[in-house]
Subunit: 219 residues, 2 copies
């Protein structure tokens, strides 16, 4: 018997009867919201976004253009970038803010210099206050939402699901997904809220916009 | 035998052997373009639109915003109306032209006073130079495209089919369809081109915009 065989024999002996069997893992994940939270999913989403230190406002569809303009005026934005397929109606009330469509493609310097970006989203998750972009309609390419310092994201009420499993049911895993929970990608990646901007366990503005603002549109 | 029976008997006699049979109707309609015309469907569409006395331009996707602005400047348009979901990129180069989104809904007086409307379409037909709107994305409601005197319609190359049967295959007959062949709905409804605006057999600007301009977008 070689040393190798001897080692393997000892491993097998040590495993004993457990070898080939697996402990039962409970799979009863909560795939839906409990009834108490499911009653008003947009409201829950708004609360969780706010807890993630992002600004959030609920607006009617007819108020959206005014709300977009007000948010940009509030930031004193002069020059923003948008996906070329953003609905014109979202930007119809801009006054004194110049919007650049990303077609022809905006170069990186101009993206970084922009005061902000306005997009829609693919899906939003109430329980985690997360916005997910997949590069589909109204969302643009990745650089568009990662370079500007401020991201104003328009979420339609019907795009909001309760839980992460429900979001995954609506998403195509082969698309380039951006999950935004809180004001920055790094910030939202499993960290906890912190009091100041100098914390060590949650860095804002490293892997995405420093400021996220969400408009929830309900008819 | 009553008078009624007598009349019916005479009808039956007159019909004789033909009753219950139907003459054969040839159904070999041309449902596709002949190969000679199918080679460049967007080019054929452009030719036929021009023959219908509407202006037409072929542009690349990156040139669309400039082409839209140039068309509006050419009309000296100051105030236009658009569906709220028109892609922002189409209007990104407007300068000195104010676009009003139809959300909140624009009232009839403002629609009629507008210098024009910009929309997309549902499908376009090369053989007849027809643009079809069905109220879907980028097209807006009927009043939006019927009241203003000038209609600038953006047609993507992939929206153009060869023939009317092909268009019908793509359309939902339960939607409100507007078929535009030539500069006006009345004009295009089976009339022939005329030399002046005072003709009796083709009236422009009665049931729709007096002026139709088409931008064909090819990548």
């Amino acid at each position: 018997m070689s040393s190798r065989d001897e080692v393997l024999r000892r491993v097998r002996d040590a495993l004993g009867g457990a070898r080939g069997t697996h402990p039962a893992v409970p799979r009863g994940y909560a795939r839906r919201l409990p009834a108490t939270e499911a009653a008003d999913v947009p409201a829950l989403f708004g609360e969780r976004v706010a807890e993630n230190r992002a600004a959030v406002r609920h607006v009617g569809a007819d108020e959206l253009a005014t709300a977009v303009a007000a948010a940009l005026w509030g930031r004193e934005a002069k020059q923003i970038v948008v996906p070329a397929d953003l609905p014109f109606g979202w930007l119809a009330e801009l006054d004194g803010v110049r919007a650049m469509a990303d077609r022809p493609v905006i170069d990186v310097d101009a993206l970084a210099a922009a005061d902000g970006v306005v997009t829609g989203c693919a899906v939003a998750i109430a329980r985690t206050g997360t916005v997910v972009l997949d590069g589909g309609p109204t969302q643009g390419r990745r650089a568009l939402t990662l370079l500007p310092a401020y991201h104003l994201c328009v979420v339609q009420a019907e795009q909001i699901v309760g839980t992460v499993p429900e979001a995954l049911e609506r998403l195509d895993p082969s698309r380039p997904l951006i999950w935004i929970s809180g004001p920055s990608a790094a910030y939202g990646a499993g960290t906890v809220p912190m009091a100041g901007a100098q914390g060590t366990d949650g860095m804002e503005g490293v892997h995405g916009p420093r400021h996220l603002e969400v408009l929830v549109v309900e008819d």
